[in-house]
């Protein structure tokens, strides 16, 4: 393997996830490809149901096995994760790649103490038990900002929401993973705690030079923490760019609409709200006859209905899936 | 054209083969026990001393017992009792349980808390004891009088129904159509009876169907112990067991009532489970 080939930490190519029930087939993720480099924070953005969570779950093979089928390639370094055996996958989970989820209350086992839940990871991956394990747990807890012996003996319901999420983060980072997948970790927290958790993640990321795949629907959060952003809609990538570029000059109508719909505090009176009209499409497994965003797109035109646009480069690392010429796209701040 | 929730549930039920089998079996059982003795002019109590302990034959399809009585007649007529008790006692449970649960769920707050605490605490207590006592004590005077049996057995089961109904009513209480009725000035009773309860009906049916087999089993316990009021399957099974011996087994005396009892109970449970799945496929209740 040449040096170039292993530049990326995570390499996803043509990932497709299809869920089949008795009634119908739904393609939740369609031919998604992207990379995450070491030490990079990549944001995965979109509405609920756009496929971002399913994408992230597929990386560790945590999606619904009974009804879901995954195709494509997910490489971590040189190792192919898709189709890897169960033991191989388990060696990666919690170890090289960790994941934290949206609701810290339900993500933690209510019947077990914190030290038991943290201890499992250490015992499993690092063979640490007893005093050595405790020392490491305490160290980790202070790194996430909640030092103290008594935290270890606590049960999840005895802690506040912010503290629980910190525990989840601590649990995820115990084995020094190269990649942290964060699935909307701040959505269920209130705003002040949100800021703290983001700050925590940022500092930890810098400290450990860890990569983060940050899934969210909140562009505000994206601007805080992500180096690069991938926008998903209807199971496909519609735009990809460095954060600053995306927020300043979006090149896809959906991204524009997302930016426009973010409530603003700097406009007197708050400004009016611009929701994106309509609903996301129902995703069948069939090929699309037109661009998925057409029904809701303010810039839709004739050509948009002639089949789905390709994802094309727009200079540098930028990608966009839209036939509207770049020159016509206005700046975000209108 | 979209189907109403009731129609959807019906469809799911009919697709459930096990439940349909249960329903058919149950219907056959009820019809058999009620109609056949009349049609075939069967007599459960007349004895034929010369024909005691006969194996099944053309004349006596199920054989005869120790006193030469026609077992087919006894099983069918006994079935009437068991089924009737099951139905009536369940009806008592339903009435008491629904009333209790509806009131608790409707008024909520402290009333609900107190009422449900009572239920929670009473849940683990053995009522059967009191039922047995009642039956024992009143056995002589109660011969032929079924009402105390219905009441006693019914009072054993109402707790579950009360809990379920209370849960449902509590949830429905907050819904808009109830608030609308209140605004229009409807009285509490009217709201409860005309608006809330019809929506709980389905759940009540499910649990009532599942309650009948428990009551039938309890009644069979009683008649097995000799405390029954009229001829029923439990009594017949105890008669069957009494004649088991290693030398000569009169297997038919035990088999037929056991079989009928088992089939009835199984079909009721199949049907009840099917109703529950049809009403609520995700199993939320």
């Amino acid at each position: 393997m040449t040096q170039n080939a292993s530049q990326e930490l995570l390499r996803i190519r043509d990932l497709s996830v299809t869920f089949t029930t008795r009634e119908r087939s739904v393609r939740a993720v369609d031919q998604v490809s992207f990379d995450v480099r070491p030490g990079e924070v990549v944001g995965l953005v979109g509405e609920s149901g756009c496929g971002k969570s399913v994408t992230s779950l597929s990386i560790l093979g945590l999606h619904e096995k009974a009804t879901g089928r995954v195709a494509g390639s997910i490489r971590l370094g040189e190792r192919e994760l898709l189709g890897a055996s169960a033991p191989e996958l388990r060696a990666v989970r919690g170890n090289r790649v960790s994941m934290i989820f949206q609701d810290p209350l339900t993500s933690l086992n209510p019947y077990l103490r914190v030290e038991e839940q943290l201890g499992e990871v250490l015992e499993l991956h690092l063979n640490l038990r007893g005093a050595a394990a405790r020392a490491r747990m305490l160290e980790m807890l202070s790194q996430v900002g909640i030092p103290g012996e008594e935290r270890l003996r606590a049960y999840p319901h005895q802690l506040s929401g912010g503290m629980r999420q910190r525990i989840c983060i601590a649990m995820a980072l115990l084995c020094n993973p190269e990649l942290l997948i964060a699935d909307e970790p701040t959505t269920m927290l209130d705003v002040t705690i949100q800021a703290q958790i983001l700050e925590l993640l940022r500092s930890l990321q810098k400290l450990r030079r860890m990569s983060i795949l940050f899934i969210t629907h909140d562009l505000g959060v994206v601007s805080e923490i992500c180096d690069r952003v991938i926008v998903m809609y209807a199971g496909r990538i519609v735009e990809q760019a460095r954060t600053a570029d995306l927020l300043h000059a979006p090149l896809h109508p959906y991204t524009e609409a997302l930016l426009r719909s973010t409530p603003r505090v700097d406009v007197p009176g708050g400004g009016s709200l611009h929701p994106i009209g309509g609903l996301p499409p129902r995703l069948s497994a069939a090929k699309l006859k037109e661009c998925a965003f057409v029904p809701r797109c303010p810039r839709a035109r004739e050509g948009c209905r002639n089949g789905e646009p390709e994802l094309v480069s727009a200079g540098g690392e930028r990608l966009r899936r839209c036939i509207v010429p770049v020159s016509e796209m206005g700046s975000a701040r209108s | 054209m979209t189907k109403s929730p009731f129609q959807l549930a019906m469809q799911r039920l009919l697709n459930n083969r096990v439940a349909v089998v249960g329903a058919v079996l149950l219907t056959l059982m009820v019809l058999g026990c009620v109609l056949l003795p009349i049609v075939l002019k069967l007599d459960p109590s007349s004895t034929h001393p010369a024909l005691r302990n006969q194996a099944p034959s053309a004349r006596f399809l199920f054989g005869t017992d120790g006193l030469g009585r026609d077992l087919l007649a006894r099983v069918l007529v006994g079935g009437r009792t068991s089924l009737l008790v099951g139905l009536a006692a369940t009806a008592v449970s339903v009435v008491v349980g629904v009333a209790y649960g509806a009131i608790a769920g409707f008024y909520g707050g402290k009333v609900d808390e107190a009422m449900m605490r009572l239920v929670d605490f009473m849940y683990g207590l053995p009522y059967m004891f009191l039922v047995i006592l009642i039956m024992l004590m009143f056995a002589e005077t109660a011969r032929g009088d079924m009402l105390p049996v219905f009441l006693a057995l019914g009072l054993v089961q109402w707790l579950t129904m009360a809990r379920i109904v209370r849960g449902q009513v509590l949830a429905l209480r907050r819904q808009e159509f109830v608030l609308a009725a209140e605004l229009l000035g409807a009285s509490d009773a009217r709201i409860l009876i005309r608006h809330v309860l019809p929506n709980v009906f389905g759940v009540i049916m499910v649990y009532a169907t599942l309650m009948v087999p428990s009551v039938i089993i309890l009644e069979s316990f009683l008649s097995f112990l000799g405390l029954g009021v009229a001829l029923s399957w439990g009594q017949l099974v105890s008669e069957g067991i009494a004649v088991i011996n290693p030398i000569r087994s009169y297997w038919w005396i035990l088999l037929w009532p056991s079989l009928f009892l088992a089939l009835t109970l199984i079909s009721l449970n199949f049907l009840g489970d099917g109703l529950r799945d049809a009403l609520d496929p995700k199993g939320r209740t």
Partner: protein
């Protein structure tokens, strides 16, 4: 009529314990627990041990028991007293009395007998005599029908038999039910699952005496592996215990399966897998606790059901347990025997319910509020 009013009042008071504030609940609950403990100790171990045991019990429960459990004690101990009262009323309302069936008794003879045995004409009077005998003298009273014996002497030997049978049956129910249910839940919608649940459905639908008699025929008469009936060796225990256990096992299997399926859909199971835990760890360390909850909460009613079923099973397999004393006592209108067996049975079930509550609180840390600082 007054007696009925007292009964209703009693029930109302019981319901009112729901409103008792935490502090008071803790105090009174502990006191009642100590009292009950003392009375029980009195039977077996004499007065001094009873007093010490009672006080110690009260103190320990005050300090350590969860509030939920003390609430239940606060309800159940008076409930037991009320049950004794209700049973007494029932017996007195029924036709006949202990002295009626003897050879012709004159009113004077009857009055003398009544005085001797402490069975007055009024239910309430009997109740107070009985309670005084129970609490102060520590005895369940003389049997009216069996000359010269107290109730304790009569049911004493039968007690361990019933307890042994019942406990074994419950243990079997849990063991069989849990195993079946967990496996079915883990292998959802496979042949194993469908088969197990079918078996469970059949198990629920068959009364224990039908199962028992079938077993009797198959295992005793055809194969001659086990004795038909009776008690005394391990082989005598097997069939009655299984007959008693299977219906409950079936219910537990369904509960465990449902619990397992529900738990496996929880987020924290996903987290456990995301940590790389092998499936065995996920099931045993994480899923099992949640699966046990519905099973544990069923154990209270399961104990009551086992008790109910034991009457029939004891008769069927001629097991010399307490059931026969209860039935005999009721038929003969031997009030003390009936009450004695009733108290023992109720007491056992109540005790079991308390243990189950404690287990529930132990399993789910969210329910624990221990200590005196509620």
């Amino acid at each position: 009529m007054i007696e009925l009013a007292v009964l209703v009042l009693g029930i109302a008071l019981l319901a009112a314990t729901a409103w008792c504030p935490p502090r008071a609940t803790r105090v009174f609950g502990a006191l009642l627990f100590g009292l009950a403990l003392g009375v029980v100790f009195r039977f077996a171990l004499g007065v001094p041990v009873a007093v010490v045991g009672g006080v110690l019990g009260a103190a320990l429960t005050f300090r350590f028991f969860p509030l939920l459990v003390l609430r239940r004690v606060l309800f159940l101990v008076p409930a037991l007293v009320l049950l004794i009262y209700a049973t007494t009323l029932l017996m007195y309302r029924a036709p006949g009395n202990p002295f009626a069936n003897e050879r012709a008794t004159t009113p004077q003879v009857e009055a003398a007998l009544r005085a001797q045995y402490g069975v007055p004409k009024s239910a309430s009077a009997f109740f107070s005599i009985y309670m005084r005998r129970l609490l102060v003298e520590g005895t369940l009273g003389p049997s009216v029908k069996v000359q010269g014996r107290t109730v304790e002497e009569l049911i004493g030997p039968a007690f361990p038999v019933s307890v042994a049978l019942g406990s074994l049956a419950l243990l079997l129910s849990v063991a069989i039910g849990l195993s079946l249910g967990i496996v079915a839940g883990l292998r959802r919608n496979t042949a194993v699952d469908h088969l197990s649940m079918l078996l469970a459905l059949v198990g629920i639908s068959l009364p224990n005496f039908v199962l028992g008699s079938a077993a009797m025929i198959v295992f005793s008469l055809w194969f001659r592996w086990l004795p038909v009936a009776g008690w005394g060796t391990l082989r005598h225990v097997i069939m009655p215990a299984f007959a008693l256990a299977l219906p409950n096992a079936a219910i537990i299997a369904r509960l465990a399966r449902g619990g397992m399926i529900e738990v496996l859909q929880q987020d924290y199971i996903r987290t456990a897998r995301a940590k790389g835990l092998p499936e065995s760890w996920v099931v045993v360390r994480h899923a099992l606790r949640g699966t046990l909850m519905p099973v544990v909460s069923f154990l209270g009613p399961a104990a009551a059901a086992t008790m109910t079923g034991s009457f029939v099973v004891e008769v069927l397999f001629a097991v010399p347990g307490m059931g026969q004393w209860f039935v005999k006592g009721a038929i003969n209108r031997d009030y003390s025997v009936v009450l004695g067996t009733a108290i023992v049975y109720f007491g056992l079930v109540i005790l079991f319910n308390l243990i189950v509550d404690l287990a529930y609180a132990w399993l789910d840390p969210r329910l624990r509020t221990t200590g005196a600082h509620d």
